[in-house]
């Protein structure tokens, strides 16, 4: 009886967006009297951090600090249309729409600042702390709060912008499957190290090494959240999860978290993650969507590591102790 160690590999790509029916999202942005920019959306944050990342996109494009951005979502009376949060589309579609809206608002902001400062708009820049200033003559400047007030009460201008991103409809050719369903592809390679107990059939994942190429890490801490949370879900899918453990029969379906098993905090491996950036031409600041794909490579990496450890090829998910033991029995010639 022994604990057998093995290493397995998997490399994958993943599409950003899935949009054969046409896939738009919109954003509206406007400045309040005191220079806060409200980003109006109907997009949904499932916990992946969309509200934060679109605020970063708005701040970067406007050239203003994060504190000047508010994200107002998701009310269908006040927020413009969004297809929804799925298919790793949120950051890409909504991010692009927000950038477009913010760029239009920035143009108005600079035009009003040019009137206020009596200079040419082309000579203005933002300093990132809240000032709009003349390039090369930074003492000639106006703060966004004063500028927004002036826009409202002196110039009669709305500092606002509209944005939309549309991935156009594309019908697959039924004979060949020719189609253009996505916007870009992110990439990952996972190496899993496992230990298989050849007496109990229990598989323990000891290490997961994940190399990702994601276009642009808009917020590296939230990228880490996706990579690690997804790796955990992949490990959970691989080793534990099913609503129908005796598929295709429907017997013994779990009804709660006592029966539907997932790894707990004691079961997490050591993670080693690396991020590469190859910006996508159509992504917001080059970003690709990675919310979904982080659960994918761990599953085959674990299957391949189990084979490496004990010679059992598991072609059926999940890789339960029962399946491991049956495989070991077969290798030992113990057919039941």
């Amino acid at each position: 009886m022994a604990k057998l160690r093995g290493r397995g590999y998997a490399s994958v790509n993943y599409p950003t967006g899935m949009n054969l029916g046409g896939d738009p999202s919109q954003a509206l942005i406007h400045a309040t009297t005191t220079g806060t920019f409200v980003v109006s959306l109907s997009s949904v944050d499932l916990g992946q951090g969309l509200k934060t990342v679109v605020a970063q996109c708005a701040a970067e494009t406007l050239g203003l600090p994060m504190e000047n951005i508010l994200v107002d979502t998701a009310d269908t009376d006040t927020g413009p249309h969004c297809m929804g949060t799925f298919a790793s589309r949120g950051t890409h579609r909504v991010g692009n729409a927000v950038i477009m809206a913010a760029a239009e608002a920035r143009e108005v902001m600079l035009a009003v600042a040019a009137e206020e400062l009596e200079v040419d708009a082309g000579d203005l820049e933002t300093d990132g702390t809240g000032y709009i200033q003349v390039k090369g003559a930074e003492e000639k400047r106006v703060h966004i709060t004063d500028l927004a007030l002036a826009a409202h009460f002196t110039h009669g201008r709305t500092i606002s912008g509209r944005g939309i991103f549309l991935k156009e409809k594309n019908d697959p050719v039924p004979e060949t499957g020719e189609m253009d369903p996505d916007s870009c592809q992110a990439h990952a390679c996972t190496v899993a190290v496992v230990e298989v107990d050849d007496e109990t059939g229990v598989v323990e994942v000891l290490e997961m090494h994940n190399a990702y190429e994601i276009g642009r890490a808009l917020n590296p801490a939230m990228v880490a959240q996706q990579v690690e949370g997804g790796a955990w879900m992949g490990m959970s899918h691989a080793l534990f999860e099913s609503t129908e453990p005796y598929y295709p029969t429907r017997d013994h379906g779990p009804g709660d978290f006592n029966e539907y098993l997932m790894p707990g905090p004691a079961d997490i491996p050591m993670y080693h993650n690396a991020i590469l950036e190859r910006p996508a031409g159509n992504g917001p600041f080059g970003a690709k969507g990675i919310g979904e794909m982080t659960a994918n490579a761990p599953i085959p990496a674990i299957a391949n590591a189990i084979f490496d450890a004990c010679g059992v090829r598991l072609d059926t998910m999940p890789f339960t102790p029962e399946r491991v033991l049956r495989g070991l029995d077969e290798l030992r010639g113990n057919h039941h």
Binding site: L46, G47, Q48, G49, A221, M222, A224, Q225, E228, G229, G230, A231, W232, M233, D256, F257, N258, M262, G264, P265, A266, I268, Y271
Partner: protein, 157 residues
Amino acid sequence: MASQVVNLRVNERSREFLAAPGTSLLSSLRDALGLMAAKRGCAQGSCGTCTVLLDGRPVMSCLVAVETVDGASVRTLEGVARDGELDEVQAAFLEGFATQCGFCTAGMIMSAEALLDRNPDPTREDVVEAISGNVCRCTGYGPIVDAILDAAARRRP
């Protein structure tokens, strides 16, 4: 059976309300007292999102019939911040990116508070055990365990 008056000391305040027999502590907190931090994730004691401190001990409030704890002291996440300042656990969760969707967070923090109250210097294993009844589907647990260890370090003099 008739409803009865229940008295609880919730987050240092005396609260009195009517509860029908069998009403859970979770429902009482949410529906009678308007304290929404504790969440209903399963209503059957399998997820830990409704964890609160009952006389200092962590309980899944969905499993506690409120009339059986008349007179008890209850602490919820609403009562953790002091004068509007985050306590160490809250600050460590916030700065450590230990939240994603946030639905399990209240239960996680209350389990952590209970642990640190009785064991100010926990090991990683102690932390793992303390949150073993709390389900998180987003984070993979690592940042949560790290945040609780960080909170312990922040709290040490």
